[in-house]
């Protein structure tokens, strides 16, 4: 099960996921991600602090947001990755490609 919410804080959009971000749930949240991408060059913080499990489909969604928004001069920061998702990010060396922050507050600094 996955829930998501989008909030605005300052000049940034915060996309918060809660639950399992996987092959079963990604289709449910893809429209919300696509709407963010359609807005173009915006700053997005993906709050992963409540994501309990992620799989390759969930990672692909984050990568897609990062690449497609980046191509429109947007910026994506990822916050609060922990537990199993942190390990998957570590396996895939995503810390070398994505801007990872321990918390949303940290991610918003200087954004």
């Amino acid at each position: 099960m996955l829930t998501h919410e989008t909030t605005e804080k300052g000049n940034a959009t915060i996309l918060r996921f809660s639950g399992s971000l996987d092959a079963l749930t990604v289709p449910e949240v893809r429209p919300a991600v696509d709407r963010l991408i359609e807005r173009g060059g915006i700053k997005v913080v993906v709050d992963m602090s409540a994501v309990t499990t992620i799989d390759s489909s969930g990672v692909a969604l984050i990568i897609s947001l990062f690449k497609r928004l980046g191509a429109q001069k947007g910026v994506v920061r990822v916050a609060g990755v922990a537990g199993q998702p942190k390990e998957i990010f570590y396996f895939l060396r995503l810390e070398q490609a994505l801007a990872l922050f321990p918390s949303v507050d940290e991610a918003l600094k200087g954004f």
């Binding site: 079963l24 499990t53 799989d55 390759s56 998957i88 060396r93 490609a97």
Partner: protein, 156 residues
Amino acid sequence: MALSFTACVPGELRFRDLVGTMVREVCRRVERDAGCEGLEWRVVSAYNEAFNNIVEHAYAAGHGEVEVLLRVDEATDRLVLRLVDHGAGFDFGTSGAVEAPPVDALSDGGMGLFIIRQSMTEVQYERREDRNHLTMTKRLSECAAPGRALHGDGRC
């Protein structure tokens, strides 16, 4: 202690967590009894990716069942997780990166097999009697004692 179960579910994503919950609970129990940690994350990650691959690739052109066998044996220091389907086969030897692929090259399929290989000690694929047998083994002694840092060499 030896513990095992087998289950058979339709090869559809909505049934993945039905068995996944059992896999998770067994791993939690082993973690607790054996005093290790990290087993659950790795085995569940491998299970999810293996099930996803069956649904998305083996059964892409049709439907079928997925048989799941999990066996834990502390005497042999092994957790064995096997998924069997009778969908389309694939070239396991050339599928999925062995090294972490660059972000630009990340794709669902290759990423899934890479995660399986990273999560487990040994992974074997066989095409036998028109069935795909994916056998994933984890050595229990690889799991860190509680309190030890998980990250360092990528192993628990």
